[in-house]
Symmetry: C2
Subunit: 249 residues, 2 copies
């Protein structure tokens, strides 16, 4: 059976930032919540996978913001899987206003890893055989390796940080949205005050854990875009690579 | 007219911490949201005050956790003003499970400040004359100056931090709950992993703003309690003083 998840969320004061707009991390948290609920309906929730010794890893996420909701507005988050391949499963998200205006949309790519080996494995059959909803228009599949993943850059801002207790989730690793909070904090003040984020494109590479030290780097790429990189200090591995796009408010 | 605010919240995955329990900052955010909604009904919301050149400041907050809710549970936040005095207004909160179990309760004390002078003013008449709901049992009024406010301590842990964009709210200052997030991050690892917060008592002293540098200090007071202090680095002023109490899980 195919399942389309629809959740409504009324935006609370603390889900808005200093500009009065809904904060992108708050929205991404809601999208993650809806994805989890949809996965439960499909029998592919975190616990369903853990029983079989495997876990989900988000590999790619690209969010486009068309219009920001504000305090008190009710939004609908709609999400469903779009396609399953040997190694990857794709999931789309649409964020709608009460009058059906498309506020935002996102594509994502997920893989499955072996908990024991900590490495990627082919999609198990119980996931491979699921039925995505039919007859819907899909967002284009995200490239597994976007250009910015291999663009070297000299950071104009670097922040060293230690992973705190409140950044880890019930799986004991840093929640996907915490990284986005960190990288937003390395954007320069003028951009934060006078522009708004219109697109964020993320490549998740390695997990990180409580008390790990990480370096959060960013660089101006063009007048509209920043490049971001989060590095696990001890291993030197890339945790996350990203590009963000901003427009004048 | 008297208004009792009741909001129901179903706990989302990201509102729980690594222990699987609802996180205290997430709960406090919901309480703040309900208080704001209740204030709107009374005509004493942030915008109502701003029109008259004044603003709210939370001075005291004491939360007692009796039982932690978990993912997917629905809680009710009930809040209302209990008494108005010349300089202070008191507000109680109760958190209830679906079967009416009392999960948590909190008392709070608020004052009004002049936006121009940045100093406390007597409660304006439109606030002074409001009618708290009658016939309800109130929590005891919190002492304006609890003992721990003047207990000097030598910090066993100090963290320097710069106020980030995501910690400020639409009033352009640090949101009350962000301070609690910061002080929880200075509690030692063993306590975070093996105990749970059962009480937190807060004295808010000065506001802080985006990009301010703050020092977050904590010290072990007894085997069950920590003392906390947040200092505004440049002015040396106390921003927050607190005591937290922990019990073995």
């Amino acid at each position: 059976m195919a399942f389309i998840q629809t959740d409504t969320f009324t935006i609370r004061g603390y889900e808005c930032d200093a500009s009065g707009r809904m904060s992108v991390p708050a929205l991404m948290n809601m999208m993650q919540e809806s994805a989890n609920r949809n996965a439960l309906d499909y029998g592919i929730g975190i616990a369903d996978l853990a029983k079989r010794g495997v876990g989900w890893m988000l590999m790619r996420f690209q969010l486009r913001m068309h219009q920001y909701p504000r305090y008190g507005e009710t939004i609908r988050v709609v999400t469903y899987p779009t396609e399953v391949e040997k190694y990857f499963i794709y999931r789309d998200f649409r964020i709608l206003a009460e009058d059906d205006t498309l506020l935002a949309e996102a594509g994502s790519t997920w893989l499955v890893f072996s908990i024991e080996k900590r490495s990627m494995v082919p999609m198990p059959d119980f996931i491979r055989s699921l039925n995505p909803p039919a007859g819907l228009t899909h967002l284009p599949k995200l490239p597994h390796k976007p250009d910015f993943q291999s663009t070297p850059f000299t950071p104009t801002k670097t922040k060293e940080s230690v992973v705190g207790w409140l950044s880890i989730d019930q799986n004991q690793h840093v929640n996907n949205v915490a990284y986005v909070e960190w990288l937003l904090e390395t954007v320069d003040n003028e951009t934060l005050e006078t522009k708004k984020l219109t697109e964020i494109d993320l490549v998740y590479r390695t997990e990180s854990h409580w008390q790990d030290s990480v370096q959060i780097q960013s660089a101006v790429e063009t007048p509209q875009t920043f490049l971001h990189r989060i590095i696990h200090t001890e291993s030197g591995k890339d945790v996350l690579l990203a590009r963000s796009r901003w427009v004048t408010d």
